[in-house]
Symmetry: C2
Subunit: 358 residues, 2 copies
Amino acid sequence: MAPNEKAQYSIKDISRLSGVSIATLSRYFNGQSIRPSNERKIKKILDETGYRPSIAARFIKGHASGVIGLIVPDITHPFFALIAEGVMREARENGQLVLCGSSEGSVEIEKQIIDRFSQSILDGLIYIPVAKAENIPAIESFRNLPLVITARKDIIRGVPHIYHDGEEGGYLATKHLLSLGRRNIAFIASFWDSPCSNKDLLENLDRPSIRSRSSVDRFLGYLRALKEAGIPYNPDFVVVTGYGHNHGVEAASILKSRFLNCNGVIAMTQAVANGFTAQAKRFGYRIPEDISVVLFDANESKADYTFTYIELHLVTMGQESVRTLNRLIEGKEAHDTRLDVELRVKETSMALHPADQP
Amino acid sequence: MAPNEKAQYSIKDISRLSGVSIATLSRYFNGQSIRPSNERKIKKILDETGYRPSIAARFIKGHASGVIGLIVPDITHPFFALIAEGVMREARENGQLVLCGSSEGSVEIEKQIIDRFSQSILDGLIYIPVAKAENIPAIESFRNLPLVITARKDIIRGVPHIYHDGEEGGYLATKHLLSLGRRNIAFIASFWDSPCSNKDLLENLDRPSIRSRSSVDRFLGYLRALKEAGIPYNPDFVVVTGYGHNHGVEAASILKSRFLNCNGVIAMTQAVANGFTAQAKRFGYRIPEDISVVLFDANESKADYTFTYIELHLVTMGQESVRTLNRLIEGKEAHDTRLDVELRVKETSMALHPADQP
DNA sequence: TTGTATGCGTTATCAT
DNA sequence: ATGATAACGCATACAA
């Protein structure tokens, strides 16, 4: 990196120009009361110069920098973008800045970002891992850094986690479809890296590599609802895939290739649901008549949303993460926060036609 | 902000523990060659302590911090999220970090962010304004800070702008619809704050408050294509609105209320197009048979996109912004970059049925 | 190649 | 309430 021509004013310059000592200036900037005549002089020079104290120099002296870090798996994914929005909003209202990194879905890149962040000036870090629980990269880098983990649970012991009640979400989604007379419900689980090749989640639930993922909790809720309704679990109705539009397309093809006449589908994201819907329509299915679809999403300013969905509060999640992190930064206790979810019935789910009911 | 317990190791600690002087340590961290025996000692202590040099202290000495700023109007909007992805990727590959702020569509918040950023440790700033050209907040705050403006043109004289060829995009979109035999083409212009109340862009094109917006360039391309085809401009086919799904819904209602039988529509974003399409279908129109839709979008990993669109290269735009900014940071010359656009024909546009052709 | 000593912009301590 | 000065973590000019 080339040398930086920062022809910035320093507190010494302001002292010289205003005739007030640097100590008084420092007190002024830190909100202590000073002589009104001095205050007037200072304000005048401040207007002329546009001087702002340097965060870096302040940070050296052992102060907080007012900068918090945020690592997301993929900033282009609306899910994480909404969390980021919440983080940035709460940080801003708190006078803090956000250093942001996107892992682009890659554990390698995530590792690189954490490495960079650790040599930085962060007061704390909000971390949404791409990685599996047993494979968090370079935790040692965090050391004494206040840390909050968001949108995941049970990743690192002793660290506060902020997450949704995924079990309840899966339960509500399934129960809603059941209440519409739909008993053949597919569950499209999404992971950043497929954690089991045989596509049957149930068999793999105890492996540490897949615990603590949001899809897993939702799947457990799905199982509970099925059990309550007395419907046996059929692994063929489960597809394990990724988070993209193309994965939804793929899931529809897979379910069709298994010769299942499913009449309800639960998808983890909007993109997956869109992909599934598009492909299902190509296969000649009607949505929601033949197949009703429920997905997980946040409805931020989507006045005219058409999908039935389990509402996530992602901006709130981001805000809550900052609040929790700031408790840690202030040396206070902090604990896990589990956010509630709600069912919102829209246009992609409806009662199964009586003739098709068993 | 509470005091920060940074029980971090300092270069002095490492010097004491390793028995190597701080000067040698500093040289080691800056890539100069030192005695191998010293290097071994240092590496050993580094492993034990996890020490990383402080960016803040380095920055004080007039060095680059390796941190660049990014201000976007709304990080939850995929358009800006993709640019942010490009910025973060290029920055990371360059060993830089990104301080990120979202204006949430508000000039007030934007002003606040710029204010905060100016007292920070940035080497430079990539700025995507919400604000109108004549109303950029606190430009003075930037002062000597290297600055690049992205996704906008002609905002601040002497500053490099990175933007798409919007005129060409509007032209291509319109010409495509014309080639399908569609002559009644609506143009839904989007702004963060509506710049003209009477909804006729043409009358307001000279007002400084609306120049330099992307919708305007696209509109000029629309006009050029119409003119080439010998079709008179009808302001009733123009709707000025916002960027959201609800604005697309609104636009459909407005066009219907004007009793226009439009058979082609150009929308600025995916969200607007979705809203328009949903509402148009409620009105009984078929897409694309009755009304064909073209929008502006980036197709990043959307394997199965259904909308006909003008492809924008947003990740590239973000990367190019960082490259340009780094030229400035290094004290080199930098200039505007105009990125090309391309038409991608998909499922939302088709030839008008011959019977309906004039 | 190495170590010492000074300076960077700010805050904190101490007299005044 | 104010001003002089030491200290923070690091880079560097200079002497060794």
